[in-house]
């Protein structure tokens, strides 16, 4: 499903398979100076905020049921630093995972901030790509879609918004 027929304009549009989100400072509306004071960035991957919590990006894949294709959201997750340290003490496989929460709502899913997640790091990958969301531990619509997948119809509705009404608030 790389294209769809748009009922708004009658044209064919591409399906965006990856949706990325802005940087943390943009999301929280913090100016550069304040951000530097309150957030410690480690190798452009981990953000230690107010010396309390760790933020980083992860990929959340939602399957299009009928096609075995995915819409991939890049999301910000938040974890407890103590959990992270504990995870680092036992990296004995090729995967390692940690529990955390969604740091912000994600597009098309209202009120998903704070959703419990399981995040998996693939330790032996050659490059440092985003870790992936291995579990959404909630029965909210995001959790349901993560487990069951979404219909092509839903994808088309999303894409129509992205193509024609990108300024609409798709987060709330």
């Amino acid at each position: 499903m790389m294209e769809f027929d748009c009922t708004i304009c009658g044209k064919k549009h591409d399906v965006f398979t990856r949706i990325t989100l802005p940087e943390l400072n943009v999301l929280i509306g913090m100016n550069e100076q304040e951000f530097e004071t309150r957030v410690q960035v480690f190798k452009d991957k981990f953000y230690f905020v107010n010396t309390k919590q760790v933020f980083f990006k992860a990929d959340l894949k939602i399957q299009i049921k009928t096609l075995e294709q995915y819409i991939r959201f890049e999301v910000w997750v938040k974890i407890n630093p103590i959990d992270f340290i504990k995870m680092a003490e036992k990296l004995d496989g090729i995967d390692s995972s940690i529990n955390g929460v969604l740091a912000f709502n994600i597009p098309f899913y209202k009120d998903t901030k704070g959703t419990n997640l399981n995040i998996r790091f693939k330790l032996n990958e050659k490059s440092i790509k985003n870790p992936s969301i291995a579990g959404v531990e909630s029965d909210n619509p995001l959790g349901v879609d993560f487990r069951d997948g979404i219909s092509e119809k839903k994808v088309v509705e999303w894409m129509k918004i992205l193509h024609h009404f990108p300024s609409e608030n798709i987060f709330n």
Partner: protein
């Protein structure tokens, strides 16, 4: 569970609304511009408007807030397709063979073949693009099938690279035959001879004469010992945990998430 420590810093703002009517950025997280200067030149040559930012991979991205330049799909979401050119630059600047099956690019380009060099691309649908055909104005996911050496002659089959026909629908428990390499169309995951395909899906099959690397990466991982320095995430996690430990010693935490 404590309050988001950032919440009090921006109460008047709904996250994602800041600075854009379009909340989603155009980024290329796999961008391979190695220097700001290089990115700047590319931006100029391609009439792109965007800010150049350091990315998490040690390189630079051109980031967009809207749909200027030749991105015409309005301000919505996808990586912007300067990738093809970067792939070419990366691959051809190396003396060794490019890695096959790099599968991570959402791209847009209308001039990927201008250098006259050779790569093949498969769209996520399985459609094949062979030089000198242009990709055209298309967003999507592409599989970069870099040629191991020299120019392309003849057909894909003659070059021992999979054809579109070789896209296989697999079922779980299928075992990859000897001397073949399968690549998951969706995830880019590679499966080597003897590997068991874990889930039903679409895989690109490389024919047996394709010059596969001598060493099976999974073997490599085992023989070096998991946890070797070749595992970048492992190293990063360990380094960061160490760093965090030091931070927490100085500023004990008073709450979890």
């Amino acid at each position: 569970m404590s309050v988001d420590p950032l919440a009090d810093l921006a109460r008047h703002l709904t996250p994602y609304r800041y600075g854009f009517n379009n909340p989603i950025s155009f980024t290329d997280p796999n961008g391979l511009f190695e220097s700001r200067r290089e990115a700047r030149r590319f931006r100029r040559e391609n009439n792109i408007r965007g800010r150049i930012r350091r990315n998490g991979e040690g390189g630079f991205d051109i980031r967009f807030r809207g749909s200027d330049g030749y991105v015409t799909n309005t301000g919505s979401a996808i990586e912007y397709g300067v990738t093809a050119k970067r792939i070419a630059k990366r691959d051809y600047s190396r003396s060794r063979a490019p890695e096959i099956g790099t599968w991570e690019y959402d791209m847009y380009t209308s001039s990927m073949r201008e250098d006259g060099r050779y790569d093949w691309y498969y769209r996520g649908s399985g459609e094949q693009y062979i030089p000198p055909r242009n990709i055209g104005e298309a967003f999507g996911r592409w599989l970069d099938v870099g040629m191991p050496s020299g120019p392309l002659k003849g057909t894909p089959a003659a070059n021992n690279v999979a054809k579109v026909d070789d896209v296989v629908q697999s079922v779980p428990t299928t075992q990859v035959p000897d001397d073949q390499l399968w690549i998951d169309f969706l995830s880019g995951e590679k499966y080597w001879p003897g590997d068991v395909i874990p889930e039903k899906g679409k895989y690109l099959k490389f024919l047996k004469d394709y010059p596969l690397p001598d060493v099976n990466p999974s073997t490599l991982s085992t023989s070096k010992g998991i946890g070797g320095t070749d595992d970048p995430w492992r190293k990063l996690i360990e380094d960061y945990a160490k760093w965090l430990n030091n931070q927490i010693k100085d500023n004990p935490l008073d709450g979890g998430l």
